[in-house]
Amino acid sequence: MRSVIEVAEDVCILDTEASPEHLARGTAEYADAMLIVVEPYYKSLETGRRMAVLGTDLGIPRVGLVANKMRDERDLSAVREFARSNHLEIAGVIPFDDEMPGAERAGLAPLDHAPDTAAVAAIGELAARMVGDGRA
């Protein structure tokens, strides 16, 4: 996989479970950045923290959390506090959005099912930040 990733086109996105076995297999270490998607409850945050440690140990230069399915200020405070005390960066915050499971039920991409919904907008802003411009 390493050579595939190295010669890939402009942007290569690898979607992975990131279990320790997966990451240790060597596909992730050539990444420029790693986003770890977490939900606002302890077990998910703690798993994310462990994945972040793995990513950093692999030498991935940018490692950040994406706080997903965020409902309210309480969720935001919980994630911020966890990130702060574990020296983790929050790369993005995606609001809880019924259109995301709705897309799955409809058998469609979220972007096709509900292009103007809040979660899609937030993902778009995250994407733009990751590639370093306002175009995405």
Binding site: M1, R2, S3, V4, I5, V7, A8, E9, D10, V11, C12, I13, L14, D15, T16, E17, A18, H22, L23, T27, A28, Y30, A31, D32, A33, M34, L35, V37, V38, E39, S44, T47, G48, M51, G55, I60, V66, N68, K69, I94, M100, A103, E104, G107, L108, A109, P110, L111, D112, A119, V120, I123, G124, L126, A127, M130, V131, D133, R135, A136
Partner: protein, 106 residues
Amino acid sequence: MKLVVAGKGGSGKTSISGTMARLIARSGRDVLAIDGDSNPNLALTLGIPPDSIGELPTLPRDLLQRTQDGPKLKQSLEEVCASHSLRGPDGVTLLVMAHPQHAGAG
């Protein structure tokens, strides 16, 4: 840019990575999306009908050969993509690492 999107099953990572891939492709960039999950679902969030990946070959373990300079692809990326990838909406190229029934082989 090479980006890894990681997370537990159910966290929403595949919806996020698929949507990111589509939006970055719309901004004019070439995007390669790789489904590294043993339960591959990235096609759906990219807008590629999941039944169209049924016949798609997954990346074989012998894709790399060891040479003096380190591991090299046996085929060029273009050849790999020609036989192993699908193009989806907004021109995103999808490679799938494993089919569910071959989860142990990945």
